[in-house]
Structures are given as C-alpha cells and as structure tokens.
C-alpha cells in the first residue's frame, strides 16, 4: 500500500563541501576575483606585519600602561579606601551571581561550537605569529634595523598554538555530540580570565630605595596588586550563582521581585559607599531610622491590603491626589530628607498598589519589597547625607575608567525611564504634556553635547536654589542622561509608531486600563522593535563620555592622551602618546564590542517565535 503519507521527513543537512570547493566558489570564482583575492591577501599580510611590528618594536614603552594601570582605572582614589570599592564591587558581583543563577535556564550547548570558537581563536593567533616580522626599522632616517622576534621563539609559539589547534579540532570532531551546560562553560571562561591575570606576566617599572628605576623592567602578573581581590570576587560569583540556582529550584516568587529592586538600588550603594564615608551611629539608627522604617512599613501594609477593597476603590483617585499633595507639602517643609523621599514613594505606592496587589500572594510580596526597599533606602541615605566626603587631590575623586563607567552606567540607567516617559509624553493626547515633552526633546537635541556639558559645569548653579551645589561628576551625569534621554525618546517613539492601532483597540476591548495597556502591550512591543537603535545609542553614549574631559574631568581617554604622556617624575613616560591612545582604543573596543555581541544574542532570543 502506498499509504505512507504521514511519514515526517527531516530537513536535509547542510554539509560543508570541503575547503577546495569553498575556495573555488568564494574566492576564485573568476579571473577578476582571483586577482582581487591575491592582492587583498597580500595587502592584509603587509598591514598586519606592520601593526605587529609596531606593537613589538623596542621603541614602544608599554610599561607606560602597566605602570599606570591604577591611574587608568581609578585615578586618584585614595588607596586606603580601596576596600570600600572592593566591597561595592563584591555586592554587585554577588547580586550578579544570584540573578544569573536564579534566571538560569540550564541551557545546553554542544562542544562542537565551543571547539569551533577555540579553533578560530587559535588559528588566528597562529597566523599572526606566522606573519610577525623578525626585525623592525626603528630609525626612519638612518634605517637602523633591530631584531625583535627570534626564530626560536616563533617556532616555539607556533608549535604550542598548533598543539592547541589540534586539541580544539579534537573537541570539535570527537566530542562534538557531548553537551555541556552553558552556565558552566561561562563560569569556565571567566575562570580562565582570572587564571590569566595570575599567569600572564608583563614588564613593569620598579624603583630601588633611592627612587631610581631598576632596569631591566621585571615581569609581574598582569594585575599584580589586584589579583587577590579579583580571585575572591570570582569565587563569590560562583558561590552566589549556585545559591541563586538553589533558590530558583525552591520556587521563591518573592525573590523574583526582590532581585530587580536590588538592582535598582545598587547605584545608590555605589554612590554612598564609594563616594562618601558613611558614619553610622547606633543611636541615630534606633531613635530615628528604625521608627521611620516601621511606621512606613505599617502604612505600606495598610495601603497594600486595604486600598483595593470595594469600598475604598471608588475613592482611589482622591487618595492618589491627596498623597501627592501631602508629598509636595512635606517636600517644601524643613524636615529630614528621608521623609521627603518616603512621602513621594508612598504616593507612587498608593497609585500602583491596587493594580499590582491583585491577589493575596502578590500583596504579600509587594509588602516585602516595600519594606525591604525603604529599609535599604533609609540606611543608604543615612550614609549618603553624612558630610564626610573623601578628600583627594585633583578636582574630583572619580577619574579614569571608574569615571567613564559611572557616567555611562548612570547615564543609561537614568536616561532610560526618563526617555521612555518623554516618548510617551510626546505621543500623549494631553496637549500640555505633549508640548512640554516635545519642547524638552527638541531643545536638548538641537544644542551640541559639549555645550550642554559647559552649561552643566558653569551655568547650572544659577538655576539651582542657593546653597545647593553639585559635584562636577554629578553635573556631568545629569547632563549626559538628559541628553541621551532626548535621543532615546525619539527612538522609543519610533517604536511606538510601529504599533498598529489594532493593538490599542484589542487592549481596550479586553478591558485593560491605560497604564496596563502601555506597560503590558505597547511598551514591550515598542522597545523590542527599537533594540538596534537603542543599542547603538548606548554604545555611542559610552564613547561620548570621553567628552567630559572638556569640563575638567579626568576620564580614561584624557588620562591616556594628556596625563601619562606628560609624566616625568618617577618613571619617565614623556611622549608615550601612541601606546596610550592604542590602549584606550582597545579598551573602548573590548567593552563596546562585547556589549554589541551580547545585545545581538538578546535580540535573537527575543525575536524567536515572533512573526
């Protein structure tokens, strides 16, 4: 019987047809393309030879970078306070591990792709070693040639790399069907990084007792002074990863809400703990903070559990307006800053609680979140408002990569909600809000970023009430985030426009409220549609932070281009501009490229199953 209609055929496998065929089809398909192939291969080899030659030439003072790594990272932050930086990074690491473990989906990946990646990496290195020049010309006029790369070393390196290529080929072919957990693989990769800061040794500058530079430069591990903390942090990450996974297996739903809230709070921890010396006294905490915390927890409990009852529901809007008025009044009174903030938070709680706390379960977790959040906030503000700033030489305690990072991180974190709100405002049907938002966006966009930086630096104080002063860094953060919010708003607005009217109507027709419609239907789709422009905006924000040098801040690039090439005390690095600029470029590249890669993956995952 020819009745086998129901047999499912599997799709034909795409097979690699062999190197020969690939070469023929892609590189030598015609005489023209063959010529082009030869020429460009020749040009590439020449280019890479000279680049490698540049790197390994004895003229290069790479010690300018290894010696100044700390300057690059944290500039003048006092060494005695480093422990607080490490604690803060530790907190973030712990949170990262928890989040990672908690959200781990136990994805498996075949060793084949790992093997392929490794093979690509090792083969590229092999090629680079193969074409590296043996000698370079160091004096263009005299034409002095020096040997920089001994043949024995080259052969030794080639042998090692060839071995590694063979190993990864073996993984790729023999162990291809083996599956490993992606999480373990990633832990392994980070572990490799940590191992490498112990093993990879670079020349550094040292001085003898009379402050004379000892030659030749000794070889020390890449992160000589920070390898211990980094290792500890790595272990912390691994441990919290497993804790997070354990908690996930226990199905703790409230933890799901605590995690994002903790992430929202981390910037505050960073500020209060790195920026200031918090001085806690027990009496302050017991007589002031504790009562405030308990009081507001109790109010929060009432709001969460009783505001959504039938009877009070109809007065909801009066509660919202009433609490807003109270918050504004309290804000203008001379009371503790903590109270000012808490009343605003209470207003927000009152506005959202009836919608969020729609079941017993969610009411309980909202209450936990509320109490934990205000406790942390109050303690943070206690730390943050203490007046003992760390005193450092120079205009600001932030500098170097720490500054770049702080500007980028806060710029993005603040501009995101702000930009989304501006976009919603600009598309709002209320004319006043629409006009205000449009005006803000157009005003901010039409003036150059640098102008705004100057504005923040020299003119902002005129617009603030007397006595209120912001640090230069804070001003730069404010300017950066407002500037990027305006651009973000336009990107998000593009996303909003891509959503059909039918989506709005369907959301209305099933009875969603305006807030629910925006947060559940419109925004998720709008943001998904504009991931690529948002990613490129984040990348350009990260790079544009280097412009703050113009208002006197010492960012990574400024240190590389101006500070280190002018160092003449201690070690002499006068004129080492090429090395430093190259280092900065590579540094920026590593960060932006890995960010771009990551977002590509996220995009792929979100795009799955859509349309």
């Amino acid at each position: 019987m020819a009745d086998n209609v129901n047999i499912q055929e599997s799709p034909p496998e795409v097979q690699f047809a062999g190197v020969n065929r690939w070469l023929r089809e892609n590189l030598f398909s015609s005489t023209g393309s063959a010529i082009l192939t030869f020429v460009s291969i020749g040009a590439l080899i020449g280019l890479f030879r000279s680049i490698i030659g540049f790197f390994i030439s004895p003229e290069r003072e790479w010690t300018a970078i290894t010696y100044n790594l700390r300057l690059y990272m944290v500039q003048a932050y006092p060494e005695s306070d480093f422990i607080r930086v490490w604690i803060t990074i530790g907190l973030v690491m712990g949170l990262l591990g928890l989040t990672w473990g908690f959200n781990s989906v136990n994805e498996k990946s075949s060793l084949k792709s790992t093997g392929t990646t490794l093979m690509k990496v090792f083969s590229s290195l092999f090629l680079l070693v193969l074409i590296a020049p043996t000698s370079v010309v160091i004096d263009k006029v005299e034409g002095t040639v020096v040997d920089v790369f001994q043949q024995e070393l080259r052969i030794y390196l080639l042998a090692v790399l060839a071995g590694l290529i063979l190993v990864s080929y073996f993984i790729r072919t023999k162990l291809a069907s083996q599956e490993v957990s992606k999480d373990y693989l990633n832990i392994g990769y980070v572990g490799l990084l940590v191992v490498s800061i112990w093993l990879i040794k670079v020349p550094t500058v040292t001085f003898d007792s009379s402050n004379v530079r000892i030659e030749p430069d000794p070889l020390l591990p890449l992160a000589a002074s920070t390898k211990n903390p980094w290792t500890a942090l790595y272990l912390l990450l691994v441990v919290t990863f497993f804790i997070g996974r354990y908690l996930n297996s226990k199905n703790l739903t409230s933890f799901k809400r605590i995690l994002p809230v903790s992430w929202l709070l981390t910037p505050l921890v960073v500020v209060t703990w790195i920026y200031r010396k918090p001085d806690f006294t027990l009496s302050q905490i017991t007589t002031l903070d504790l009562p405030v915390i308990l009081g507001f927890s109790a109010i929060g409990y009432l709001v969460i559990n009783y505001l959504n009852s039938e009877k009070l529901m109809q007065y909801q809007r009066y509660f919202v307006y009433g609490s807003l008025i109270i918050a504004v009044v309290v804000f203008s009174l001379p009371v503790l800053r903590q109270l000012k903030l808490l009343f605003f938070l209470l207003w927000i709680l009152i506005s959202v609680a009836p919608t969020i706390a729609n079941s017993k379960e969610s009411a309980r977790s909202l209450f936990i979140v509320w109490s934990v959040a205000i406790t942390i906030l109050i303690l943070l503000m206690r730390g943050g408002t203490s007046e003992t700033l760390i005193v450092v030489p120079g205009s600001s305690i932030y500098g170097g990569f720490a500054l770049t990072w702080v500007l980028a991180f806060f710029g993005i974190a603040i501009s995101f909600p702000f930009g989304v709100m501006l976009a919603l405002g600009r598309t709002s049907s209320l004319p006043i809000i629409r006009i205000i938002c449009t005006a803000i966006i157009e005003l901010v966009r039409s003036v150059p970023f640098i102008t705004w930086l100057f504005f923040g630096s020299v003119m902002l104080t005129f617009f603030l009430p007397a006595g209120v002063e912001f640090d230069e860094v804070v001003r730069a953060v404010v300017v950066t985030s407002i500037f990027s919010a305006a651009y973000l708003a336009e990107n998000v607005r593009g996303g909003l426009q891509s959503i059909s009217k039918g989506q709005f109507e369907a959301a209305d027709a099933v009875g969603l409220s305006t807030l629910q419609r925006i947060s559940l239907i419109v925004m998720p789709q709008a943001l998904r549609a504009v991931i690529p422009p948002i990613v490129s905006q984040v990348i350009s924000l990260f790079k544009d932070t280097s412009l703050v040098a113009i208002v006197g801040l010492f960012d990574l690039l400024y240190i590389g281009s101006k500070v280190i090439p002018n160092q003449s005390q201690g070690a002499n690095f006068l004129g080492t501009i090429q090395e430093n600029i190259l280092f900065c470029a590579i540094f920026y590249w590593i960060f932006t490229y890995s960010f771009a890669r990551r977002s590509m993956k996220i995009e792929k995952r979100l795009g799955l199953g859509e349309r």
Binding site: S500, A506, V510, G511, Q525, G609
Partner: protein, 242 residues
Amino acid sequence: MSIIQSIDVKKWYGDFQALKGITMDVAEGEVLVICGPSGSGKSTFIRCINRLEQHQDGQIIVDGIELTNDLKNIEAIRSEVGMVFQSFNLFPHLTVLQNITLAPIWVRKKSKSEAEEKAMELLERVGIPEQADKFPGQLSGGQQQRVAIARALAMEPKIMLFDEPTSALDPEMIKEVLDVMKELAQSGMTMIVVTHEMGFAKEVADRVMLFDEGQLVEQNTPEEFFNNPESDRTKLFLSQIL
C-alpha cells in the same frame, strides 16, 4: 428584556456623518447579524457599543449602564462585552496562552493558575489546545481568529461583538471559525455579528439587519429578510451578493 438599547445614535467623523440615528435593541441571548455595503457604518456602530468609538448624539445602554465619558462605566462595559476583530489583533509578543490569560489576570484579578485552567478549557472549546505555547505569528489565520475568540470569551462576557471575523481568511479556514461561532450561538450567548456570510445568517441568526449610508434600512427574521425583503435597497443589496 433587552440587553443592548440604542436610541437615535448619531456619529460624525469631522463633517462626515457615519451614523444617522440608529434606534434598535438586542434581547438577551439573541444572535443579530448586521450586513450592508462597504462604508455603511456597520463597524462604526458596533464599535460604539464598547466605546472604541464615541457616539456624539443619542443613547447607548448596555446591560443597564449608559455609555458616557465616565471611565468607570466604560471599564465596566468593556469587561462585559467581548470583541473579535477582522484582523485578529492578537498580541504578537505573548504566547497564545498568555494572550488569553492576560485580561483575566490583570482585569478580573484571577490567579494565574485559575486563569490558565480556564484558558485551556476555552482552547479546547475552539479546538486548538495543542497550540497553547506557540506565538500568534506561528498560527494560521483561522487558528489566530479562534484564539481571538477564546481571548474574548476568557473575560466571561455577556455579549460578543464580531466585526467581519472571517473576511481576512481563506475559504477553507472560514468554516472552522464559523463552526466555533455557531457553537457559541447555540450556547445562548448574545451576539452581534457583522458579516457577509449569508449562509451563517440564514442558519444561526435570530434577526438580520441591513445598514446603508449610516441608517438602519431594514430588520427582520432571516426567512423574511432573504425571501421577502421589504425595501428596494435590501432587494438591490441581496441581488448583488447572493
């Protein structure tokens, strides 16, 4: 006892009058089919019933609640009136199951498990329980429309509105959607259906109406409407489509 009452409802788009005074009512459990030429105001009228459009004159009373600008009333009405659109309008970023449970969870405040149980029941009823975890984009048009019906039913509405639910579908898919609608009509749901499927009207409807140029031209039982049309306009319309 009529569940929907419409008294002299008028509606303008700018200067253009789309509804020129519609007076009618729908009894509980009745299946009403509205037909009429393109641009005659059919969609406009049924969209006024759950206030996706606002009428400017006259009164619409749904289940004893008059439709005004009061937000509370609108929300109350919308959770009692389900709507199925010509272009499905499923939420593309949510799975089929999430599409159906969204409103029960957020509007009706049901627990997730309860909502999902109900959703699976409804998917069973419209005949596609196996598609629960797919995204709308992975379904055929007919399947999507059935999900849309399930989504509307999940709110346990008293009234269902259908705006040309089959006109974006291929012929072979029309039947599967109509079957679901027939089953729904037999279960006693109050339904207003804008459609050109005259077979459906003959078989299921309790009453058929003809709209033309914003006016209600004729209404009658299906037998009378198709066999003995009163007005010339109806005769012309029927001769064009049958």
